[in-house]
């Protein structure tokens, strides 16, 4: 590692471990300084190749800095800063460490120049994100977190198997455009792994399953990194893959359809992540310079406005404890600042002129136009209408206006409002002065978003969407239902298999959990006793920190043993897949 290169991801991942040893004001200072330092670090990096390490006869590149990786690193570090400001009031070191590790791993994946380091950070991202979900410490959250792990272990194995096959075929581990290998098994496996992380249906049900179960603050981090690092990886490896054009456009509409049926505020927003990532996936598939610039720019803008929207819904969750739209209403009186900041995010995602989405989403839509694809153009425009319908109209209507349910609420803690303000400023700056963002994109930008035709057509589209909303308002009243998605297969489909295998597996599970109980208890008690000894010798300040972390981790670990047979069965299936991958490797 050369002196002019400090890995910004390492700053976050290593720096996070300072937190358990600080208290009060010092801790809050570290929480701000770490992501701020990573952000400055990213800005200082000049394009080039850094951090080359030789490992097993292969060159592992930890620092490929070019225009594409740098622009993603800026927004990742920026949203980490916003997220930490939003979490300042939370007194839970485990959450902060997991969040910073997650952000650091995403930065690591973006700077990875080869498949080995990409895989390393890919897996670290999956684990730290699962931990963020689990750390809500509720049964529903631990179940969702466990499902998250299963899906991402599957994706990780696909990626690993793809990498191994790619290596045996080409003898190279460098990560670049894979289109010369289109159709090979390696190409397909790596693509599937990226598509799972990008939450492309039918592989994306994990997203609306897991994100709404996280805490108000953790969800802000979750919305940013996994899907957008997958978009980055798709741009890097699969630019111009025709299948992504249609898949992305279908995905944009799919998210909108599910959002109609959704009653949980953050689940609705989660389906709109899928919808928005659809634009990016479509842009990757179109593969022209304008389309790839559009996918990159839209990812940048999306991370900021989606964080803002989740912060708004999280603020309501924080002060009212409510997550369902059917329970909310009339909050505009007591939470006007939250409403105003939320609406900035809503206007940004809906591509209202002067807000960020307008200047980024339209690049992808125009790219579809320039490639002469009327069907894709119409699908993406239809999804734009649906986006405004839900995030700009339905959600704020039922949350802040609608039927006044006399909820006692107040504005959330000041740090939450400050974080929302930061994201809101970014949304407006990008919308008003698009060159700020355009000048950072991978290719030169000739695109002009503010033309008379574009502005008037957009205003017409949004205005008459609002008319449709008010015409059919009664149809849209949120209903207390859940909607089936492909997670059904591993949530209920497993039950059918369970009936046949219950006897043998249940006995096995019983003995395994007895063993794990004993081991866990001994382990934790041992460490506790040792800590006590050292503590007596007077190093108490430092050891208190370690003790706290150990205790929290063990508490959270007990939450993960849910005792559901089908989950253990899925882990076994994952293990078999791992065995297969290893066998392929050895062969």
């Amino acid at each position: 590692m050369t002196p002019e290169w400090i890995h910004p991801g390492l700053v976050l991942i290593a720096g996070a471990w300072i937190l358990p040893f600080c208290r009060g004001r010092a801790k809050r200072a570290v929480m701000i300084l770490l992501p701020a330092a990573a952000l400055v670090d990213c800005f200082l990096i000049q394009p080039g190749t850094y951090g080359v390490v030789r490992f097993l006869g292969q060159e592992v590149v930890f620092g490929r800095a070019d225009r594409l990786s740098l622009v993603f690193s800026y927004v990742f570090a920026l949203v980490a800063l916003v997220g930490m400001v939003y979490s300042l009031h939370v007194n839970d070191d485990a959450q902060h460490v997991a969040a910073l590790t997650y952000a650091g791993a995403a930065l690591g994946a973006v700077f990875a120049g080869d498949f080995l380091s990409l895989f390393l950070f890919w897996e670290l991202m999956a684990l730290s994100a699962a931990l963020l979900v689990l750390l809500r410490r509720r049964p529903a959250a631990s179940a969702a977190g466990f499902r998250y792990v299963l899906v991402h272990v599957f994706a990780g194995l696909c990626l690993f198997a793809g990498i191994v096959l790619h290596f045996t075929q080409t003898g190279s581990l460098s990560f670049g455009n894979l289109s010369p290998y289109a159709g090979s098994a390696a190409f397909t496996l790596i693509l599937v792994a990226f598509l799972v992380n990008a939450a492309v249906p039918p592989l994306g049900a994990w997203l609306p399953d897991a994100y709404p179960e996280a805490t108000a603050t953790s969800a802000v981090f979750l919305t940013a990194f996994t899907t957008k690092s997958a978009v980055y990886a798709l741009i890097r490896g699969f630019a111009g893959a025709e299948i992504l054009v249609w898949w992305g456009a279908a995905m944009a509409v799919y998210g909108v359809v599910y959002a109609v049926l959704e009653n949980d505020a953050r689940r609705l927003l989660a389906y709109h992540i899928i919808s928005q990532v659809g634009y990016m996936v479509c842009g990757v598939g179109l593969g022209t310079e304008l389309a790839l610039n559009g996918a990159t720019a839209h990812a940048f803008a999306h991370i900021l406005y989606k964080a803002l929207l989740f912060m708004g819904a999280g603020a309501v969750l924080q002060v009212t404890g409510l997550r369902k739209l059917s329970d909310m209403g009339g909050l505009y009186k007591t939470m006007p600042v939250t409403l105003a900041l939320y609406m900035v995010g809503a206007f940004a995602i809906s591509a209202v002129p002067l807000f960020s989405g307008f200047v980024t989403k339209s690049m992808v839509v125009s790219a579809a136009g320039e490639s002469h694809r009327p069907a894709i153009y119409l699908l993406l425009t239809l999804a734009s209408s649906g986006t405004f319908l839900h995030t700009g109209l339905k959600l704020p209507y039922y949350m802040f206006f609608g039927k006044d349910r006399g909820l006692r609420a107040q504005e959330p803690p000041r740090n939450m409002l400050v974080a929302m303000g930061l994201a809101a400023v970014a949304c407006v700056v990008i919308g008003v002065a698009p060159m700020v963002l355009y000048s950072q994109l991978p290719f030169r930008v000739d695109y002009i978003p503010y033309t008379v035709r574009h502005v008037t057509a957009t205003l017409g589209l949004l205005g008459f969407t609002a008319l449709g909303f008010f015409l059919l308002l009664e149809q849209l009243d949120p209903e207390p239902v859940v909607s089936l998605d492909t997670d059904w297969f591993y949530r209920r489909g497993g039950a059918a298999i369970q009936k046949f295998t219950q006897g043998a597996l249940a006995r096995l599970e019983g003995s395994v959990s007895r063993v794990s109980d004993v081991v866990m208890q001994r382990f934790v008690l041992d460490i506790g006793a040792q800590l006590g000894n050292i503590d007596l010798r007077g190093v108490d300040a430092i050891m208190e920190g370690v003790g706290r972390v150990t205790e929290e981790v063990s508490r959270d670990l007990t939450l993960t043993s849910t005792g559901h047979v089908q989950r253990y069965a899925l882990v076994m299936a994952a293990g078999i897949l791992a065995g297969v991958a290893l066998a392929v490797f050895a062969w």
């Binding site: 049926l261 205003l459 059919l472 089936l484």
Partner: protein
């Protein structure tokens, strides 16, 4: 004026603006023929919105929705 009338007034302004705008400032061209239909954005916005709501609600009623405790049982 009631909020409803405000909405209608704004919509009229938008629609007129969309019809007149490209004629007053004919700098940028359309990608497809259908974009030259007068007030194309407004028409497509309304149609999209109604389609999304009706089709999604139908899909939900016929197939996709279940009681809230569906996965708990």
């Amino acid at each position: 004026m009631t909020p409803k009338r405000w909405l209608y007034a704004v919509l009229v302004v938008f629609a007129v603006g969309e019809i007149a705008g490209p004629h007053l400032f004919p700098a940028d061209h359309a990608h497809f023929w259908f974009e030259d239909i007068p007030a194309w954005g407004s028409i497509y916005g309304l149609v999209s919105c109604l389609l999304i709501i009706i089709v999604s609600k139908l899909l939900g009623k016929l197939w996709l929705t279940r009681p809230e405790n569906y996965y708990d049982s």
